[in-house]
Symmetry: C4
Subunit: 208 residues, 4 copies
């Protein structure tokens, strides 16, 4: 009976995609809720307002970095789902795990913005970049093993998806390790890696 | 006239699925909003930060459990909708009732995190697990009775969906009853049942 | 040029439906954010917790009523969109106006919960029920006039949609007028009308 | 390898549309969260409630203007996507940039509502209207250059989309410049331009 039920459960790739888009949309929009603008009572001139907005720099940095992170994982998950022939119950739960780590992103972002010089905050943030990557890696291994990939997916693409995750995650790990020097060095490195994946595929050709 | 209108109202399964995905996405992402990280004013070292994050344990537990609950009900509802030939006005309202209980989940989660040792909080949380299950049970009885199920749905699947709800809800009720000993025992039991449904279908084969 | 542009702008019914589902999903889930559970500092026993949850009665009532309102308008808008052959730029803006009034619903709900005995709060809430109804009425008049309705839509359905809005809104207006006696009488009447539309279509046959 | 991966990444227009609808839906609904209704403790009569709601005028104005802004950009993006034959990795990132500026809208709206007489708040708001326009302009130039436009798109439409953005943005810039006189003049002008695009296409024919 459980067999019969599991065989039919959670197989809709469309529903999975729609839930994912919803969660990414909410997470991306919630990030900005955590930027606390000054209240009118404490700000008496335009210059003061400019200064207090500038004082929110850690929040702006964390916000920008997290939006990039979410965009990269959204594009990465989409690329996988686009190449699937069908879904499965186990795949749905792997992706629910992936989405769980995505919902944590506003939390670790807030933590990093509040404690931008604490290594613990940076390491927790990095774990929140590592986990969705690990879930996507697991997801692709799973669909390869269970033959869920569309037949017209070229062989070099099949391998490229896993390599891509491994190389990107290695670079993020190097970035996180740089916090032994300084959190800002670490963040700058991670953002550069992200921008490379997002907007500079030409440089990306050499890095992977 | 009302007949004519009711015959045409609310029949789109696509719209119902999209609304459901949206509500699940928002509810899953809002859960994390209730985890209140400490503010920088009260935390002066990395060790203090680690301690205060550890002190949020009830919130982490409630968050994880609720994400699992939402994932299970999302997969359960999806399984039903995937097997429907068409929707109906009454079905739309049964599922709006189901979604109403889903929107309550962030509230009962917050309540449980705040009062994790109060039996009342646990019982209210359990009611919030019972109600969506009851709505899904009602939904399946309704579509069976009114012939809304796709014709290619195997007979054993038709029965499996209701049995699945009954067995899972019995286990949750046992879990909730364990609060006569201790809320943590109760929560641990419920999370184990959930993990069984989510990630361990092989063990699940024996339990149902 | 503007002509050329307006002819092609905003015509996708799918996008309109998806935006609507998103807005309804967020509004339905946000309602519950406004129910403020007591904090553990002020509650020292299970009985006290039960009492303070009971003290939130106005919030529970407003929450339930607003969920019903949103469900009714979601079903009503869906019914219209399901019967459209194609969209248009003007229709998109009529529905953006409709969605604007939907986004106001969490606000007027909060207002009613906070000031449940003030007639002003009730009248503002009623205006927030009247406005989406008026927009849906306008929307249907618009699609009838511009021939956007699917050709297979029966003639009696075409008229039923407008009559439905008029009768429901008349009943809501009667309900709102009852606040000259007491806000609770008013709310009870409105909720009964809503429940009639949602769960008791058999009685509804007689009322409209 | 990166080539192979980039060729397949992020090409689903459906996913891009769904993410966009989600972000617009959340942003539109969040706007209203920033309208802080008075609490019952400080309001003792219906007249007082009316006065304090009236005192929120800057928030109402900012809310209405931002909903119009979001509606205009939603319709504008939709118009582009409706005319695309296929997506691409670069296009997905241009639109993620566009969506990034959309998620900033609740923030700059809150800023403008809080500091409605500060030119800095108005200029930042205007930048938040300029940036999504610039991204949409870039997006259309990109799809024209890379042949992603559907073949049946009329030639006059192809040009109209870019001209539309340029004319609208010029008018917004004029509106923003009016803040050298007074922020309210500036806001009134911008809202008039928006209403022209939203509800008065007949006048719009002359303006462009």
């Amino acid at each position: 009976m459980a067999n019969a039920y599991n065989a039919i459960q959670g197989r809709s790739l469309e529903r999975l995609a729609a839930l994912s888009d919803g969660i990414f949309a909410v997470a991306m929009t919630l990030l900005v809720l955590d930027i606390h603008i000054p209240s009118a009572e404490h700000v008496h001139s335009e210059v003061e307002l400019l200064h207090s907005l500038g004082g929110l720099a850690p929040q702006w940095i964390a916000y920008l970095m997290s939006f990039l992170t979410l965009g990269i994982f959204w594009a990465g998950q989409q690329t996988q789902l686009n190449h699937l022939r069908e879904g499965s119950r186990d795949l749905a739960w792997i992706h629910l795990g992936f989405l769980f780590t995505i919902t944590l992103m506003p939390l670790t972002t807030r933590l990093l913005a509040e404690f931008i010089q604490f290594r613990l905050a940076l390491v927790l943030y990095w774990i929140n970049v590592l986990l969705p990557g690990a879930m996507l890696y697991w997801s692709w291994k799973h669909v390869m093993k269970h033959g869920l990939v569309k037949e017209d997916t070229p062989v070099d693409v099949r391998g490229a998806i896993c390599r891509r995750v491994l190389i990107a995650q290695s670079l993020y790990a190097v970035g996180a390790a740089l916090c032994v020097f300084n959190n800002y060095v670490s963040i700058a490195f991670i953002v550069l890696v992200q921008l490379n994946y997002a907007i500079a595929p030409r440089i990306g050709k050499r890095l992977g």
